[in-house]
Assembly symmetry: C2
Amino acid sequence: MEKKYFIEMDKKDPLKEFRNHFFLPKNTIYFDGNSLGMAPKITKKRMEHVIGKEWGQGLIRSWADEEWGISGQRIGNKISKLIGANDGEVIAADSTSINIYKALTAALQCNQNRNIILSTNDNFPTDLYMMQGLQSFSPNKVKNKIVNKDEIDKYLDERVAALLLTEVDYKTGEILSMSEITKKAHDKGILVIWDLSHSVGSIPVDLNKCAADFAVGCGYKFLNGGPGAPAFLFVAKKHQEKIRPTLSGWMGHKNPFDFSIEYKPADGIDRFLCGTPPLLGLIALECGVDLILKANVTRLRKKAVKLSSLFIELMESMCSEFDFKLASPRDENRRAGHVSFMHHSGFAVSRAIASKGIVGDFRAPNIVRFGIAP
Amino acid sequence: MEKKYFIEMDKKDPLKEFRNHFFLPKNTIYFDGNSLGMAPKITKKRMEHVIGKEWGQGLIRSWADEEWGISGQRIGNKISKLIGANDGEVIAADSTSINIYKALTAALQCNQNRNIILSTNDNFPTDLYMMQGLQSFSPNKVKNKIVNKDEIDKYLDERVAALLLTEVDYKTGEILSMSEITKKAHDKGILVIWDLSHSVGSIPVDLNKCAADFAVGCGYKFLNGGPGAPAFLFVAKKHQEKIRPTLSGWMGHKNPFDFSIEYKPADGIDRFLCGTPPLLGLIALECGVDLILKANVTRLRKKAVKLSSLFIELMESMCSEFDFKLASPRDENRRAGHVSFMHHSGFAVSRAIASKGIVGDFRAPNIVRFGIAP
């Protein structure tokens, strides 16, 4: 393949204008979108306005005048368009880990006569750690079962309250079949919590088509919300009113400014708020989400598939002598926004290419991971 | 009192240069520091740098290169200087509500044979709601008791695991005696969790002098950390290693980047981190904390006492015909950073003065609250 071919492809790229919307790091080829997305230029501008004008001049009044108070809901509704949810089913708040805890405790309430939470040993660690924290505090209410991914079916039975899975494997980029697994779980009365941290903004997701129950996801990867951006929580409409949130902070109260002594859950998704919304982080997240909505996930996905297939082809033809082994699925329909290769000296490789300005990342024990999604 | 007197006072004010460090809202007299502190000019500047340079150019590398990864600890150590804690006892993270949950579950672990959590009915609502959420999920492990403030002593017995109190009453500004109450509780083997949201940055606090166990506090009031700024958590050194955090997210793991399946708590205060640190919010908080450290809480307190006594004097002499009744303690040693008046039409009063550019706030049923701390 010649340089001409790539230049031609770039010219035809319907997404090419989006390059101008981001700060482009100098002398860097950035393959780390799956750990921290790039910085939109508009984020800097909007933050200047929020700090200098909305906070600086409007102060406390901006909670109402600038709609700070409903930003978690507004951004949640925007994210819902990326994941096949309806208005009022998604809220942007807290971290992914905290939202996992909210979903776990909520699922146990919806499925009161069961106490097992099932997950897989290749799930992202924080998902497992949050399960373990909950079990350790409430051992008589919660029993965790962590199994191999290919054994899940065997464990789907009437004792399981909830199944917690990540749609896209953080190491290999493999996509699980959300619709198939959710259906199998529902057949046994099990609720499913989907972690979309490695899906949202990179592959189309359709939660309601699968009748999904709960989902969480992170804002700092493909959504470009900035380092440690707020995360989001999806709770299907059908479950919302049954749940009395365990993390019941004042912003999830029906009338937070009545300052009453008894907690009374707010209507709908609002009850899953907890503390005061982290406004600066939320505004940055909104900037990133707006850009993804404008770029359109279907178009992004199309380009990501093309780029990642090309990347695999080039790696295998040009680096064949160096003993890299593809860790991601070869089938492009089963591979999400990043491509991983195994290498016995994976860590050294990732450090070496980083020193040349090529930023990927390393996942123990031997995975070099490249974020290819545009 | 004549205008000349006030001009003279301003001239002598050792804190007067700090006025220049903040955005000053136009045509506004701002008495709402206890709900949202003002915006430091440096925050806007620093955020521009963090977004454009550290994130925009450094991207994922800035977690190490710019020390993003330890910002919660660094800012925690700065806050510790304001509340009489040592390095490694305070972490900036999450919201006040979430940190209350961390402290409650931790205290129950430290006091395993007890199950009562005691608090007062004039505590800030989110404190009570978080207790209620915990009890509702784990009713066999947790029983809440909410009593009148003047009855606390009666309920301090061997069944109580933890006492959760706010040092400064959010309505009246009354200061509780932290040392006296902590001692009484300890005499019965009860651990104490202090909510410092209305103290930190406005009155000197000395947690370790009182041998306090846990504390939480908010970043957006007197610390000027911005709307929804991250909060903080204090865990006394003596307790840290005993606790297996219930909200055990990956950032509280001993080796978060080993991605191991089993949660293993990090050493010391780090284990009380949960999800990825919300960097933009943390940076804004740090700017506010730096200014408070520079201004010095003892100096701030001295000025606040002077201003609030003067404010009461002027309100009572100039507005005596309007039926305002002082809700805050008259004794300046028992009154923290805000002054409250009761008025039968309190809500209407607060709206009316707001329309003239005088921003205080209203707390049901009849309290008009003025943040006087500088």
